[in-house]
Each structure stands twice: as C-alpha cells, then as structure tokens.
C-alpha cells in the first residue's frame, strides 16, 4: 500500500509537468485550431531562461547578489514574462503571416514543427552542447509521512500545477477576455464585426500558454537540474498526447490528461518490467482514444475551450 501511495506521489509530480505543457497546447488549439508543435521547445526555452535569470540574480560578483529566496521570487515572474515573449514572437513571425495569407492550417502546423527545430538547434549553436545545471533556489527538505517520502519541491510543483489550472479555468470561463477567446474559436470571421480585436485575443492566448510553459520549464529545471537543448522535444510530444487524450481544446482535458499519462507511465513501470514502460503506457492510451476518439472531455464539432 505504501508502495502504491509513493508511486502515486511520483506520478503527481511528473504529471504536473505534463499538465503544465498540455495546458499551453490546448489553449492555442482551442482558440486557433492550431497545433503549436513548437510548444515543447518553448518549454525548453523557459527552462534555459530560468537558468540564466537565476544564475544572473544569484551571482555573488554580479551587480545583484540576491538571496536565494528573493532570487526565486523574482525568477518566477521574469521567466514567465520572457518565455511569453518568445511565444508571442513565434506567433508574430511565423504563424500570423501565414494565416494572413490564407494558408491552410496544415502549413502552419508544419511551420510550428520547424520553429521547434529552430529553437532546439539555435540553442545548440548558441550555447554549445554542454549540459547546464540550475543553481539550487530552495533548501531541499525531505518529509516522511507514514512511509511516504516527499520533498518540499515536489509539493510546490503539484500545488503550482493545480493553481495554474484554476487560474486558467477562471480566466477562460469568467472574464471578458476569456469570453473573447471562446468567441474566436466559435467564429473567427464574425468576430471583428462584433468589435472584438482578433489579434489581441490571439496574442493573449499565446501569452497565457507560453508563460505557463515558462513556469513549467522553471519548475522542471528545479526538479531535474540537467538541462539540454532537446529536453523539450520528448516531454513536449508526450504532453501533446496527454492533451489529446484529455480532449484537446478543453483545459480540464489537458489537466486530467497530463496526470492520467503520468499515472499510467508510473504504474506500468511500477508493476510491470520497466523495460516495456512506454510500450504499455501508450497502448493503454490508444485504447482510451479508441473508445473515445475525441478524448475524455472532447466533444466532436462543438465549441472548444
């Protein structure tokens, strides 16, 4: 039993990252019907930005030399802001011109894939292949609660993911901007007639998605402090699968899908030989999609988000 609960805790932490990335996929898809395949790499950029910001703030010889607590508190918003700038730049430079010219959505998706590769290899060219490691921003404490071991960082990660979900859910369902986002996914062409600024809504969507990815990158770099330029690719793809299984376009789906994927992965590794983890894990997800092709929360051809 303890073993099972411990594995649940492991899955919760791992699922938080999937959920944070999947939320970004689902937001953009929900509004623009565009699969932003560069999103995993935006997450990677977030992790690297967190690395540079925190090392810069902490450097004793630098002009700041902040304490670790202050550095952490400053790194979180700075990483989110800078990562969202990256996301918005992608939209501005790569996606918007194509969509303006009336390109089919497929071309934009391929462009997104290319943007992801550009981010990965640009990073490689710029920073070299050497691995980076984030400085410790938090004193690590290990708690033992009735046979279960958990660190303060893990709790922090899970809480952050849950908090982000509720904030996003609130924004989308309760605010004027959220209403505009839902309106875009209903009918892009009628929108300007109603006086809703389409571009601003799209940019806002990218800001939301990318800043969440930035937060995810920061937390990921704190939990797994070995950064490499390709870290976003595999994790990003898996998070995308999580979003699809949850029902892409629905933020509850991304959240549930992220945790579901992690639970399946961890439990397969825990109770079956770990050699076959991905094989079994993704077969199970395939079965779920077989049963519900639009994902758990997805409804065919209705309003998404």
């Amino acid at each position: 039993m303890e073993f099972f609960l411990q594995q649940c805790v492991n899955a919760l932490q791992w699922g938080s990252f999937y959920a944070l990335i999947a939320l970004g996929y689902t937001l953009v898809y929900g509004v623009l019907r565009l699969i932003n395949f560069a999103h995993g790499d935006v997450f990677m950029v977030g992790a690297y930005l967190a690395f540079f910001i925190s090392t810069g703030l902490l450097a004793p010889e630098g002009m700041f030399g902040f304490s670790r607590e202050l550095a952490l508190i400053l790194t979180i918003p700075l990483t989110m802001i800078l990562t969202s700038l990256v996301g918005v730049t992608l939209e501005r430079v790569a996606y918007r011109p194509l969509m303006r010219k009336g390109a089919h959505r497929l071309y934009v998706v391929i462009t997104a894939l290319m943007c992801g590769l550009i981010l990965e290899n640009g990073n490689l060219a710029l920073l070299g292949a050497s691995r980076r490691t984030l400085p410790e921003l938090m004193d690590k404490a290990v708690y033992h609660i009735g046979g279960i071991t958990v660190t303060n960082l893990k709790l922090f990660v899970v809480l952050a993911a849950i908090l982000v979900f509720f904030i996003l859910h609130f924004i989308v369902t309760r605010t004027r901007m959220g209403m505009a986002m839902r309106a875009v996914s209903w009918d892009k062409f009628a929108l300007p007639l109603m006086g809703i600024p389409l571009d601003r809504v799209v940019v806002f969507t990218f800001v939301l998605g990318s800043s969440v990815a930035g937060l995810g990158g920061l937390l990921f770099a704190m939990s797994y402090p070995v950064l490499d330029p390709y870290m976003g690719a595999t994790t990003g793809w898996k998070a995308f699968i999580a979003a699809v299984v949850g029902g892409i376009g629905d933020i509850r789906g991304a959240f549930v899908g992220g945790f579901l994927l992690a639970i399946v992965e961890v439990m397969v590794a825990a109770f079956l030989p770990s050699t076959y983890r991905d094989l079994y894990a993704f077969s199970i997800l395939l079965l779920i999609l077989w049963h519900r092709p639009t994902g758990i929360f997805g409804k065919p051809l209705t309003a998404k988000i």
Binding site: F3, N10, S130, R131, T133, T149, K154, V226, A270, R277
Partner: protein
C-alpha cells in the same frame, strides 16, 4: 575542333585533379574521428578532440610523423556523431569514403561503436575505439580494435569491490535500455552477482529510456526491494539525476558506478550528492606518475581541467595507430593497401605501454589491462582507491 579542345581541357583538368589528389594523399596522414560532439555525452566528444589535438600539435611541431625516414604531417578530421548510433554509422562511412582516412579513432560509447564498428569492418578500414567496453564492438571484426577493457572484466571488478566495501549481499541495477554499453554491463553484472550470491540476489533490475528525466517510479521499486547498494552503469548525465532523485526518495545506501561516470562534467551536474561514491574506470588522474602525469599536466595547462578517462584512452588510441603507421615503413599511395598494412600491424601488437597502463592484445583485438576503482572525495576529485588486474 571545339569538341577536341573541350575534351582535351577536360582531360587536363582531370589529370590536374588526380595529380593534386595523389600529392595531397602522399603529403598528409589522415585519421578520422567520429565522436559525440553534441547530444547525450558532449563532454566525451570534447575530451577526445582535445586529447587528439594535443597529440597532433605535438607531432606536427616536430615536422610530422616519421614514416620510413620521411616526415608527414598528421591531419585529423572530426565528425560529430551526435551521440546517436545512426549518425555514427553515417559519419564513419563519410570519413572512409569521402575523406579517405587511413584509420578511424572512435566512436567512444558502445552505443555508437558497435554499429560503427560494423561499417569500418565491412569497408576494411582499421578502427580503434578508445572508450567502448561492450564486447560486441570488436567481436569477430578483424579490422576493429579498442583501447579500453571489456565489460565482462569490468562487471566482476565492480561486483567484487561492492562485496568487499559495502559487505553487500543484495544488489539492485538501474540501466538505460537503448544503450549497448549500459545494457551489456548491467546483464554482465547480474550474471556475475548471481553466480556469487545465489539466484535472486539481484533484487531489482530496472531500466529507463534514452530521454527520461524522471526515475522515481523505478527508484521507488528499487528502494522497496531493499538492496545493499545500487549499481548504475550509466552515462554521467543520468547519474546526476538518478542519485539526487534516489536521495529525495529517502534512499541512504551507496551507489556504485562504472567507467561512463568518469567525465569531467559529472561533478558539475551532480554536486554534493555524488561525493563519497565509488566507480570503476580506466585510470585515476590524482596521484598519477611518469608519462601519465606528463599527459595530465600538458592537458590541464592547455585546456584548464584535469583530463578524464576518455581523453587518456583517446591519447593511447592515437599512439597505437600512429605506431602502426610508422611500422608500415613507407606511406603507400594506395589507401586500401595502406589500410591493410596498418591493420596487420595493429593485429601484431603484442604489448603496448599506454598512459592508461600496459596492455596486451588478445585474438579479438581487445586489450588485457588493469582497472582502477575511484572514490569521489569530499572536494569532488576522483581519487585512486585500488587497482584490479586480470
């Protein structure tokens, strides 16, 4: 008339090309390095390149490598294998076919060396892999050699040391499933350990994929089996993550590692978590003497850090090849003949004094040499603990 002019000018061009090509081939000795400059183990590629450059500069400063009374400058061509098996095959083929190298040094990790070895063997080009320890890299391949010891030697070294040092009876293993090196060593270790401690004494045998970063599921399973120590035949970038995550999950026992730990980058990534751990490797930089110390000092002076085992083994591999080239006695214009002569000389080496110790070569082209156990001390240095000879 025009036709004739065109034809003759073509002929002239071709002749010029042939002449220049022939002249170039005669002037320089080309050796190819398919090494991992990016990807999972970039530091390994860097170390190999630095060590090779050190060697090349030293030889070329004296006018080149002396073969049969004439000096030829060395030309080393570095190709990036991206730490991937498929890329390793491609770049090795490129070096053989396009660059016409006389010999190949690399790839370093067995994951790339096993497939690349097949290419070198099929194309009849001598290859020395400095760092690969998986037996398959050289098995039944007369053209492939290595400078490192084998996993079936390393596994008992690690097992015996753990039995003695930790008085261990139960072992757990975590390895990377898609890596020939990691998997081969893990399998070997399990066989050896179960032979010594009875069936079921490897209480957990878990694996992970090449891109994984979270190992808590496997580690929870391992910790629940209560092993006396965890054996990690892993690349250094995984070691840093696994050791920290194991500690976070409340594991207090020791980890034991293998030669892939010995990168200069391990301590930068792992920090305090890896201090006090042991691993088996090819040489220990701290406390080295003679030619080994000379190499360490030169390397440290030039690049600003103590060379790791890959650097030392690469140096030995280059020395092995250049010695074999010198023994040919003359540089042949015909690359195929030259390659054959180098291979024959490599196969004939009975004993070689390298900076990673003395080696003898067996009929598979594998060296018989000593291993060392290294302790990571509180300063983060790799210090000599003991030496194990076959």
């Amino acid at each position: 008339m025009l036709k004739l002019v065109r034809a003759s000018s073509l002929l002239v061009c071709a002749a010029a090309l042939l002449a220049s090509g022939g002249a170039l081939a005669a002037e320089k000795i080309k050796i190819g390095f398919p090494i991992p400059l990016t990807g999972e183990i970039p530091k390994v590629g860097e170390s190999s390149k630095y060590a090779a450059e050190l060697f090349r500069e030293e030889v070329n400063a004296k006018g080149g490598l002396e073969v049969g009374g004439k000096k030829y400058p060395l030309e080393f061509i570095y190709e990036n294998n991206e730490s991937k098996p498929d890329t390793a095959v491609n770049v090795t083929l490129k070096l053989i076919d396009r660059d016409n190298v006389l010999a190949i040094i690399g790839p370093q990790s067995s994951r790339q060396a096993v497939p690349a070895g097949a290419v070198a063997n099929d194309n009849e080009t001598p290859m020395v892999t400095p760092w690969s320890t998986n037996p398959d890299a050289t098995r039944d391949r007369p053209w492939v050699f290595r400078a490192a010891f084998l996993d079936d030697f390393q596994a008992p070294v690690a097992a015996n040391f753990a039995t003695k040092q930790f008085s261990a009876k139960k072992a757990a293993v975590l390895f990377e499933i898609s890596n020939d090196y990691s998997k081969g060593l893990a399998d070997n270790f399990r066989t050896v350990w179960e032979k010594g401690n009875g069936k079921g004494s490897v209480v957990a045998f878990e694996s992970h994929g090449p891109k994984d970063q979270d190992f808590s599921a496997q580690l929870t399973k391992i910790i629940a089996a209560k092993p006396d120590f965890i054996f990690l035949p892993e690349n250094y970038s995984f070691v840093a993550l696994i050791v920290t995550q194991g500690r976070d999950l409340g594991y207090k026992g020791p980890f034991m590692g293998s030669d892939a730990w010995g990168s200069a980058e391990l301590m930068k990534l792992c920090k305090d978590a890896c201090k006090g751990l042991f691993f088996s490797t090819h040489y220990a930089a701290a406390g080295a003497q003679g030619a080994t110390k000379e190499f360490i000092d030169k390397y440290n002076k030039k690049y600003g850090y103590v060379p790791d085992d890959v650097a030392a083994l690469t140096w030995d591999a280059v020395a092995l090849i250049t010695e074999a080239i010198q023994k040919v006695g003359a540089v042949e214009k015909n690359t195929r003949k030259m390659r054959k002569a180098i291979r024959d000389n490599l196969a004939a080496v009975k004993e070689f004094k390298g900076i990673t110790g003395n080696m003898r070569f067996d009929e598979q082209g594998d060296p018989v040499k000593c291993a060392v156990i290294v302790e990571i001390d509180q300063k983060g240095d790799f210090t000599f603990k003991e030496s194990v000879c076959p």
